[in-house]
């Protein structure tokens, strides 16, 4: 399973765009990149998933360069409620593949 590396913590201000980068140098050909968000005392919640180039939904954008060795989660115009831990995962869509979390990035939004 590809291992991921992301910053331990980040601070930003309300209204700013926040970019969290994740490194996954050993990503396999059939691996997808997935991001989750976790608020205190809750389970993680799926944000976005992609394979290559750019994926956008109502919550975030995911940028994946051609070599796929890294990815960037972009949160537009953050608010205080975006304060959470963000996890980057890589893994295949094979039926019997485990879902492995790292330690995540603790994002703190300041007023």
């Amino acid at each position: 399973l590809a291992k991921t590396t992301q910053p331990i913590s980040m601070d930003s201000y309300e209204g700013q765009e926040v970019n969290i980068t994740c490194s996954h140098n050993n990503i396999a050909t059939n691996d997808y990149i997935t991001w989750y968000q976790q608020f205190p005392s809750q389970g993680p919640r799926f944000i976005i998933q992609g394979y290559k180039t750019k994926v956008t939904n109502e919550v975030a954008s995911l940028f994946i360069p051609a070599d796929r060795k890294s990815s960037t989660l972009s949160l537009p115009r953050v608010s205080l409620s975006d304060t959470a831990v963000y996890y980057c995962l890589v893994g295949s869509r094979n039926r019997d593949d485990k879902i492995i979390f790292g330690k995540g990035t603790r994002l703190h939004i300041l007023p």
Partner: protein, 114 residues
């Protein structure tokens, strides 16, 4: 909406007790997972099941066992609870396969072993 329900939100057990944590999902998902979460350590996978009666060890299976007799239910068993098993336990399910690997989580069970 997918619902993953864990039987208890908070649980206090004594050292040496046998503890059962139950998890039920209502979306006919193939895959179910048990994690524990401790400060500074992120989520660590204990066990995983991709079908009824099938199980695979995760990163930290020692001291735990699991049971999946029905597709919708995945139980985590602490054979003899110890204080170092005090933690937040999270259950998740996913459909697996080519459609999506999105995992849906329960609300968590905060277990304290005294």
């Amino acid at each position: 909406d997918v619902k993953v329900t864990q039987s208890s939100r908070y649980l206090v057990k004594r050292t040496g007790e046998k503890v059962f944590l139950e998890c039920v999902q209502d979306m006919d998902h193939e895959n179910m997972f048990w994690y524990r979460q401790d400060p500074g350590l992120g989520l660590r996978l204990i066990y995983f099941s991709y079908d009824v009666k099938m199980k695979e060890k995760g990163d930290i299976p020692e001291g735990y066992s699991v049971s999946r007799e029905k597709k919708e239910r995945f139980s985590l068993i602490l054979e003899s609870a110890s204080t170092n098993q005090t933690s937040m336990y999270l259950c998740a399910s996913s459909s697996g396969g080519s459609q999506s690997t999105e995992a849906f989580f329960g609300q968590g069970t905060r277990l304290t072993v005294v």
